[in-house]
């Protein structure tokens, strides 16, 4: 039976975050093997794919939307993905990434790239994608179907969500698996 079922196309994306959520995903350990018998990882930092593919079933998006590039990618993810999951607190709430929101962007870039030794900032050289005035959680940019909080989300939580989705069940996490932080 299992053979005839089409494998789920799973993607992961790393926006403005520390990659800790991806580390936690790897901490699924042997459960990963189980998962990958049911799903193909088609895009993300863990696989070698240059372009976000079309027709993705599930996408775990780590990190907040911090710059124009993130925003563009988020739009692209939305058009090509059935279930978009805010993966971890930065995607869900902005979290640590959004702590820069209290500082005006110009001051921020000044402090990072100008007040130290480098004379010309990458922003001026158009190396860095333009920063948004405020870091926003993913759902304020695109519609998000599921929220998987935690900093990082515990592997248990990730497993519970992915298992349910792969089985085609509703995701219903207990309260203690829904906490931020």
């Amino acid at each position: 039976m299992a053979e005839t079922v089409k494998k789920i196309r799973l993607a992961t994306v790393w926006l403005g975050g520390c990659s800790g959520c991806h580390m936690s995903l790897l901490d699924l350990d042997e459960a990963l093997i189980d998962l990958l018998t049911r799903a193909d990882l088609v895009y993300g930092p863990l696989v070698d794919a240059k372009k976000y593919p079309e027709d993705v079933d599930i996408c775990l998006v780590e990190g907040a939307v911090t710059n124009v590039e993130n925003l563009e990618l988020a739009r692209h993810i939305r058009t090509n993905t059935r279930t978009v999951i805010s993966f971890g607190d930065c995607a869900v709430t902005g979290n640590v990434t959004s702590m820069r929101n209290r500082i005006p962007v110009s001051d921020l870039l000044n402090a990072v790239y100008h007040e130290v030794s480098a004379p010309i900032g990458p922003e001026a050289l158009k190396v860095l994608p333009a920063l948004l005035k405020k870091v926003i959680p993913l759902h304020q940019a695109i519609k998000v179907d599921l929220f998987l909080p935690g900093c990082p989300p515990h592997p248990e939580r990730i497993a519970a969500v992915l298992q349910a989705l792969v089985n085609g069940d509703d995701v219903d996490l207990p309260a203690d698996m829904r906490t931020f932080g």
């Binding site: 925003l71 962007v105 010309i120 001026a124 333009a130 926003i136």
Partner: protein, 569 residues
């Protein structure tokens, strides 16, 4: 002073006035003063000094409170014995002198008075404002001559408290501060409450922007308010009253302070009022700039010298008010209607207005209207009559777009509802409220989302911060409205805004939060197209909003909006 003395004083003063050949009433309220009333008065005083010994005593100049059509000030009313009164508008010092000289010489003046059937006056019914513009508010004797404190005397000597409450109930008087709660019922509640002490509070914390009815009443006829409070005190069994005046109204506070002192000196307030066994003291409290203090529980905490934050009701003030004692709290205009009701009877008052909204209501008519000013009309008068007959329509050929009533708690009534009778229920049915009586006429250059944003900013700023929905909800609603008016809104923002409006309306602790979403919901209802034009077509139909921001999702195409460091080197 007893009631006989009072009547004697009144009659004496009436006689004195009747003997005068010419009485000049000059409107000395703020709008007329700023239009030059003081210069007119100086000129008239100078003219008096020039008169000979015979003429001078036959003439009197009275600096009065507001006469109504403030946009036509300075206003001068001429009263000669046996002749109809004349009102002159936009009076200059020269004009005034000419008018008076002509009157003294029994000639017709060069200046034309307002026609006697001038609709601004003809369409009004004056009850609360009946003395406005006819007395010097700083002269208690003027008020007494027009019957002040005679109702109080009658009540104290001829009626039981229960009868007074009944009379008010039968008159159908409802709270004029906006809530429209039956006044008699409230009085009865406080009367029946068992307590060692009770209080009466007059709410003069008129905070709605665009409303100045209470200011005018307090400035133009302070004794009227004090008398109403004293009658309420007798009816409810209170011996202490407070009148809370908005901090922005120093003149009203000063006039009330003087009025209280004058009334006490004559035994009309204080111990053994008018030789009865009733004691009633009134203290003045001056606010310090907080809109939320118009809410009755917040007002009471402010009277007690604390942060003006509301407390959940129930218990209502009638049960637990100032310092935990039963407290009657009514609006200034409500109190101003009391003495005439007691004088003329409940049936007389109930003869005005509509089935459910009896009597009259004072409105501050302003905005894009030819005759702006203070008016008093019967409940149920149509909005069209108010704006076009009394107000004289819009200036410069402007088109009526909406009338804003109820300030930040109300809404904008569009042109197709101009024939709505103005009463509590009808306005509520339109998603607005009667409010305290500000009525602002808007033409096609007013943008409704912008107006909604204006009120939301007001509410955000005035929120006391006690409850979460109001404290945070108002700023989040403002954020969404800002996006709509700056061009960065997206379609779904409208839904988020509406949901938030309902939350704040239903879960806020006090009236401020409960009604803060009204201007948004109401304009969304009647002017949804305008919101959509902003969001979908990036267009402000009224031409007010700049719409120079880009919606978030379109930013990748407009990255220049974000680029901070230009290549300057």
């Amino acid at each position: 002073m007893n009631t006989v003395d009072l009547q004697h004083v009144a009659e004496e003063e009436q006689q004195r006035q009747q003997q005068l050949n010419l009485r000049l009433f000059l409107c000395y309220s703020t709008p007329c003063l700023s239009a030059g009333a003081e210069r007119v008065k100086n000129a008239l005083d100078g003219l008096c000094d020039e008169l000979d010994e015979e003429q001078r005593p036959t003439l009197e100049i009275v600096a009065t409170g507001c006469m109504g059509p403030c946009s036509r000030g300075p206003l001068l009313r001429l009263a000669r014995c046996d002749e109809p009164e004349e009102i002159y508008e936009k009076v200059t010092p020269e004009m005034a002198c000419n008018i008076v000289r002509a009157a003294l010489a029994a000639q017709s003046a060069a200046a034309e008075p307002l026609p006697s059937d001038f609709p601004f006056f003809a369409c009004q019914t004056l009850i609360a404002l009946e003395n406005n513009g006819r007395i010097d508010p700083e002269q208690i004797i003027h008020s007494i001559a027009r019957g002040a404190y005679s109702s109080l005397g009658h009540v104290l000597h001829e009626m039981t408290p229960e009868q007074v409450c009944n009379e008010i109930t039968r008159s159908g008087l409802r709270g004029r501060g906006g809530g429209g709660y039956p006044t008699g019922v409230k009085w009865e509640l406080v009367r029946k409450a068992q307590a060692e002490r009770k209080y009466v509070v007059a709410n003069g914390d008129e905070g709605d922007p665009g409303a100045y009815m209470d200011r005018t009443i307090m400035e133009s006829d302070p004794h009227r308010v004090l008398e109403g409070m004293a009658i309420a005190g007798y009816a409810c069994g209170a011996e202490q009253g407070y009148i809370y005046v908005r901090g922005e109204y120093p003149l009203a506070a000063a006039r009330l302070a003087k009025a209280i002192k004058d009334a006490e000196r004559r035994g009309l307030l204080g111990s053994r009022v008018l030789d009865s066994s009733f004691n009633f003291r009134i203290d003045l409290r001056v606010g310090a700039g907080a809109f939320v203090c118009g809410e009755e529980t917040a007002l009471m905490t402010s009277i007690m010298g604390r942060r003006g934050q509301p407390v959940p009701r129930p218990p209502y003030p009638a049960q637990r008010g100032l310092w935990g004692f039963p407290t009657l709290i009514n609006n200034v205009e409500t109190f101003a209607s009391v003495a005439p009701i007691m004088r003329e009877g409940a049936e007389w008052f109930a003869g005005f207005g509509t089935e459910k909204s009896k009597g009259t209501k004072v409105f501050a008519l302003c905005g894009e209207v030819v005759n702006s000013g203070l008016i008093e009309v019967q409940m149920g008068t149509s909005l069209r009559d108010i704006v076009f007959a009394i107000g004289g329509g819009l200036p410069d050929g402007g088109t009526f777009k909406a009338a804003q009533t109820g300030g930040p708690s109300g809404g904008c009534i569009p042109a197709d509802h101009l024939d709505t009778p103005v009463d509590y229920e009808s306005l509520q049915a339109l998603g607005s409220i009667m409010g305290s009586g500000g009525l602002i006429v808007m033409n096609e250059t007013s943008c409704m989302p912008d107006v909604a944003k204006f009120f939301m900013e007001f509410c955000m700023d005035e929120s006391c911060g006690k409850c979460v929905p109001c404290r945070v909800g108002t700023i989040e609603m403002l954020e969404l409205l800002t996006r709509i008016t700056d061009g960065s809104a997206m379609d779904e923002d409208l839904q988020t805004l509406e949901d938030l409006c309902h939350l704040v309306q239903e879960t806020s602790l006090c009236g401020l939060g409960m009604t803060a979403p009204n201007p948004v919901l109401n304009t969304l209802h009647y002017f949804r197209d305008e919101y959509l034009a902003h969001i979908r077509d990036n267009r402000c139909p009224a031409g007010v909003c700049r719409l120079d921001q880009v919606p978030l999702l379109k930013l990748p195409e407009h990255a220049e909006q974000l680029t901070i460091f230009k290549e300057e080197h």
